[in-house]
Structures are given as structure tokens and as C-alpha cells.
């Protein structure tokens, strides 16, 4: 009779809708990944040919431009007590082969 549609049913539909939307998002991600695959292969080829070792994400300092090639001292600038002053330096963590004990 009265109020055939219950709030709880609407809620259930709402939750299912959200789950479906999240699922769709994952599908969209998969589609984007497969579309990006040839491009990614091309980019990997560029990396191989040029012998690149790093991403050009942070160009502000030597050791952030090439963190994987940075030496043990450059993150300290010219003095062991000088503080980090590049913002990206706080984003990039030091490479593990530098922070791990000698050898590897």
C-alpha cells in the first residue's frame, strides 16, 4: 500500500550503484592501461636507446634529477650540516643502495 519504496531499498540500490561505479572505474583503468601499452613500449625503447637511468621529474638539483646516480654526499650539499632546501628533496627518498650499509 503506502510507501512501496523503502529507504533501505534505495540504500541498497545506492550501495550497489557505487560498487558498480567503482567496478567501472577499474574497467576504465584497464582500458587505459591497454591503450597505453604500445606507447609505454615506445617509451621504454627510448630509455634503452638513450641509456636513461632516471625520470626527469625533478630538475631542480643534481641529486633529484638523477637520484639513482647520486653519490653519498650530494644530498648534504657542500657541507654535512647544511639542510635540505629543495622541496623535491623531501619527496624523493634517498636511494636504498646509499642508505644501506656498505657493500649491499
Amino acid at each position: 500500500m503506502r510507501r512501496l519504496i523503502r529507504k533501505s531499498d534505495i540504500f541498497l540500490a545506492y550501495v550497489l550503484l557505487q560498487a558498480a561505479a567503482l567496478g567501472l572505474m577499474l574497467v576504465d583503468a584497464a582500458v587505459r592501461r591497454s591503450l597505453a601499452e604500445p606507447v609505454l613500449r615506445q617509451r621504454a625503447e627510448v630509455v634503452r636507446v638513450l641509456g636513461l637511468t632516471d625520470l626527469a621529474l625533478f630538475t631542480e638539483a643534481r641529486y633529484t634529477r638523477n637520484p639513482s646516480l647520486a653519490d653519498r654526499h650530494s644530498p648534504f650539499q657542500e657541507h654535512p650540516l647544511s639542510l635540505e632546501h629543495f622541496p623535491s628533496g623531501s619527496v624523493v627518498s634517498p636511494p636504498s643502495h646509499l642508505t644501506l650499509p656498505a657493500g649491499r
Binding site: 534505495i10 592501461r33 617509451r43 632516471d54
Partner: protein, 384 residues
């Protein structure tokens, strides 16, 4: 009499009850969505860029050998390359020349490297698509195009005009935005690089299993060198945005803070009205468990809504947009910033982890304070 019907009844009541506090519920959802948006953006961004770095840098040189002098990287004599080339298992040694160049006109830092194919084509350059040109007339920087002339200052202070013969693919901008590739002669001319000395060596080995052994041999033979393996590079990028990093810590701290405020509001904010309501429900025959279920569904509906909103917004932000919010942090003081769009390397596992670190604590924070009120005697409602 059915359990499902009972749950539906309780959800009915929960929604009616939430509907009364539209303003507050909306505000909580808004703040909460924003927290999840930030957290999810960080997770999506860092996971995707790590994955991308991993896929790309798998093609990096198997081993890079540097030379150190007084704790700083310095040039490697050609003799080192010959010596290392004779080590068993080393297939090839590439002597590389590259360095950093600060362009005072645009304020950008570039990576200048030698491209052997330009040898003999002096005065020409192949550049990354992010390289800027400062127009003399307009006084403004613009992206460089093929055919442009790029002025580079040599060590003597003279301007060397490099003709842009090619631009590296735009798709590769994340890796190559700041590259300027020149011939070896131009390189030595720009940087006054001593002949017979190189920046570092890139090695290829016959058997990858021998990498560590070869590295040990190199260091034994040339104690002032430092070999960097491809695994080291990959590991560097695997740890690049770890949770101790600025980006993560900042968002986490912010999110945690906002979350504590939300939870605190929940924990202390059980108003007299709400307490009375719990008392009434108990008095008319609701069990403690039923009341906790109301609070449970309340937490679930608010946090699920916020979760979805936050996740979708983060997805759009990171993968459809280009992580606009992170750009200032990542860009820092640098002038160049690669124009890149990340591929959505997300999976159900990430979503479930995000769900657990956000929805679970919020729901618990909703239930706990009511639990205390829900266990008291209902006779208080008999009095005014």
C-alpha cells in the same frame, strides 16, 4: 520474523535519523570525502609512477660505473673503460658523456648528453619536448620546436647556437623533458671536458647472474669506482615516494589530523538529544545491539558515500587530469616540469586497503561512543 527484514527496518530508521541532520551529515561527508580524495590521490599517484618507472627503467643500463674523487663524482679516464672491458663477462662498455646545464635565460636546468649519431653534425641538437626557448622579442619562454636555434653558453662565455634537428617524442616527456643531445665535440666545447675522460660508463654483461661478481671485480681493480646496478635503480624508484617522503607524510598528517577531528567530534558529540533518543529506543524495547547497528549503518552510509566521492575525484585528479595538486610540490623550484599523464595502475587491492584505512576507523569511531550510552539503563527516559 527475519534477520534481513530486521536489518532493513534498522536501515530505514538510520536513514530517517540521518535525514534530520542533513547539514551536519553533508559537512562531515564533504570533509571526509576530501580526506579520502587526498589519500587516494597520493596512493594512486605514487603507485602509478612507481609502476611506470619500473616498466621503463627495466631498460636502463645493466650497470653504470662512476668514479668518485673526494666524495664527489668525477670523470672516468678511457683507460678504465678498456680495463673494465677486459673483465670476463663484460659484453660491452659504453663511455658516456653527460652533465647538467643551467640556462640563465629561462632559469631551467637541462641535462646535456652526447648522442653518437650527432657526431659529425656539430651545431645540431636533439632535445626533449620540455626544453624552453626564450624569445628575444617577446621576452617570454615557449616550448622549443624543430628548426629553432637554442643558444647555449660555453665555458668560455661564448654563445653556441644549436640548431634543433629533432624533438624527442612528447609521450616520453616524463623521462626526457630536459634532455639536450649534442655531438661529442660540442659537448667538450660547452663544458671544457678534457679529452679522453668520460662522465660514466654503461655496461652490458653476458650473463645477468654475474652482475654482482663483475661489480666486485671492478671495484677491486679500480677502488675509486662505484658500480650502480639496474636493480639499484629500480629499487630507488620503488622507494621514491615511500611513506616517509614529504608528499606522503604531509597528506597523511593532514588526513590524520582531519580524521582525528572527525572522530573526536563523534566521540564527544553524542548530544543530549542523541543520548535521549538512545534511551527512548531502549525503553520501547530495542536491544543494545540494535542501537549499535543503527550507529554502524550510520557510519557505513556516511563513510561509503565519502569513500566513493573521494576515490572518483582522486581518479579524475590523477589519471584524467595530471595531478594538478601535486605539481607545486613535485616541481619545487625547478622551472621545467614534465607534462605527463599517468597510466592508471590501480587495482582492487589498493581500493580495499584504502577502504580499510578510512571506512573502518570512522565506523568504529561512530559506534564506540554510542556503545557507552547504549548500555545504560533506559529508565532515565521515564524522567524529564
Amino acid at each position: 520474523m527475519s534477520l534481513i527484514e530486521k536489518h532493513r527496518n534498522i536501515i530505514d530508521y538510520t536513514l530517517s535519523s540521518l535525514g534530520r541532520r542533513k547539514g551536519k551529515t553533508f559537512a562531515v561527508c564533504l570533509v571526509y570525502s576530501f580526506i579520502i580524495f587526498l589519500l587516494a590521490s597520493v596512493v594512486f599517484f605514487t603507485q602509478a609512477i612507481k609502476r611506470e618507472a619500473d616498466l621503463l627503467l627495466r631498460e636502463a643500463p645493466e650497470m653504470t660505473v662512476q668514479r668518485l674523487e673526494a666524495g664527489r663524482q668525477t670523470t672516468v679516464p678511457a683507460a678504465y673503460a678498456d680495463g673494465i672491458g677486459r673483465i670476463r663477462g663484460v659484453q660491452s662498455v659504453q663511455k658516456r658523456l653527460w652533465g647538467y646545464y643551467f640556462d640563465s635565460l629561462t632559469g631551467a636546468n637541462y641535462t646535456v648528453m652526447v648522442n653518437a649519431s650527432l657526431n659529425g653534425r656539430e651545431g645540431q641538437a636533439i632535445v626533449g619536448s620540455g626544453v624552453l626557448l626564450r624569445g628575444a622579442a617577446e621576452g617570454e619562454s615557449r616550448k622549443i620546436q624543430a628548426g629553432d636555434s637554442l643558444p647555449v653558453k660555453t665555458y668560455r662565455g661564448e654563445a653556441l647556437m644549436l640548431k634543433v634537428a629533432g624533438i624527442l617524442p612528447f609521450a616520453s616527456e616524463l623521462e626526457t623533458a630536459d634532455l639536450i643531445q649534442v655531438s661529442e665535440r660540442d659537448y667538450r666545447d660547452i663544458f671544457n671536458a678534457e679529452a679522453g675522460r668520460y662522465t660514466d660508463l654503461a655496461l652490458q654483461v653476458r650473463n645477468r647472474k654475474e652482475l654482482a661478481t663483475i661489480a666486485t671485480k671492478i671495484v677491486r681493480q679500480y677502488p675509486d669506482t662505484r658500480p650502480i646496478l639496474r636493480e639499484d635503480i629500480l629499487r630507488t624508484y620503488d622507494a621514491i615516494f615511500d611513506w616517509r617522503g614529504g608528499l606522503s607524510i604531509m597528506t597523511m598528517a593532514g588526513a590524520l589530523f582531519a580524521f582525528i577531528i572527525l572522530a573526536w567530534d563523534k566521540a564527544t558529540g553524542l548530544s543530549a538529544e542523541e543520548k535521549k533518543e538512545i534511551g527512548i529506543l531502549k525503553a520501547i524495547g530495542w536491544e543494545t545491539g540494535d542501537i549499535l547497528q543503527v550507529k554502524f549503518w550510520e557510519g557505513v552510509s556516511v563513510s561509503l558515500t565519502s569513500f566513493s566521492i573521494g576515490i572518483f575525484a582522486a581518479y579524475l585528479h590523477v589519471f584524467v587530469g595530471s595531478s594538478l595538486l601535486f605539481e607545486p610540490v613535485l616541481k619545487g623550484w625547478s622551472v621545467l616540469y614534465p607534462d605527463f599523464r599517468l597510466t592508471p595502475h590501480i587495482d582492487a587491492y589498493q581500493l580495499v586497503s584504502l577502504l580499510f584505512i578510512t571506512v573502518l576507523p570512522y565506523t568504529v569511531a561512530t559506534i564506540i561512543p554510542s556503545w557507552r550510552s547504549a548500555t545504560i539503563d533506559p529508565d532515565s527516559v521515564m524522567r524529564a
